[in-house]
């Protein structure tokens, strides 16, 4: 979500939004977003023991999907944050670094660099974006077919390099899960 978002957001929602809570507010906290019950929980400890979970070879369905967040960001006041950018998500079979962004409504946004590099679709024209669809998306073993995506052209607001991230996972995907952002252990869990 960009800094100038208030006007746009207020217009879209139809009332005033007074603040945006970003990653600096959640630093070190464990935040669980339960879309089914429509509640946010601040947990005192991680909902799973990551070490034992990694060792288990049990039913994949029962296990949460785990992702390590690894994108460091240094604020201008010299605080280091870890943004929820993860590996382990594939789009049409190719791995693309993806950013879990609750400020994005659309299921998936794809950068022009990722679209071009992996030939996912024709890259939209400079300064434009268009809605498309990808055949499959795989979240650490959990397959989602026919995912709506927003494809961006160059200079359309998504010009990050592939090393940073090439996809944004929005609420359209996240709302199918209970999502835990564990900023203590730097993990994202999908249940």
């Amino acid at each position: 979500m960009k800094n100038k978002a208030f006007g746009e957001m207020n217009k879209k929602i139809g009332r005033e939004i007074g603040m945006i809570l970003g990653a600096d507010f959640f630093k070190g906290k464990i935040v669980q977003i339960d879309f089914k019950k429509k509640v946010i929980r601040f947990l005192e400890k991680s909902p799973v023991d990551y070490n034992s979970l990694k060792l288990k070879v049990a039913s994949a369905i029962q296990q949460p999907l785990l992702f390590k967040m690894d994108q460091l960001y240094r604020t201008f006041y010299a605080v280091e944050l870890t943004m929820p950018v993860v590996e382990g998500i594939t789009f049409n079979g190719v791995k693309i670094r993806a950013f879990f962004d609750t400020g994005s409504a659309f299921p998936v946004l794809i950068s022009p660099a990722a679209t071009k590099e992996h030939a996912l679709a024709p890259v939209p024209e400079k300064g434009s974006s268009k809605v498309g669809q990808i055949k499959s998306m795989n979240l650490s073993g959990y397959e989602i077919p026919e995912v709506p995506v927003m494809l961006f052209g160059r200079e359309a607001g998504f010009d990050e390099s592939l090393k940073e991230y090439g996809a944004i996972i929005g609420l359209g995907i996240m709302q199918n899960f209970t999502v835990t952002f564990d900023w203590d252990e730097k993990m994202v869990l999908l249940n």
């Binding site: 957001m9 009332r15 007074g18 603040m19 946010i40 929980r41 609750t102 400020g103 944004i168």
Partner: protein, 93 residues
Amino acid sequence: MLKTSFAILFSLTFISSHCLAGEIPFTLEKGFIIIAAKIKKDIPVKAAVSTGSPHSYLNPDLIQRHKIRLGYTSDGPVTGRNDKLTHLAEVRR
């Protein structure tokens, strides 16, 4: 030239809301997660949760309306050319 950043950053020391048993209810409005909160003891605000934003922000209209005092700092090294300012507000419960 000195540019003032449009970004209004704040460090939220505490948020109070309709919290029941550690759970904060939210609504999904046009694709945004919205929670009810209060700042400066009794100013109710609606807050959007955005994990994609590194910083937290206060709505400039809210700052003006409630006369929230701002500090400021430079955003990046000051070189005397294209310097940027970011305003900060510490918002207590």
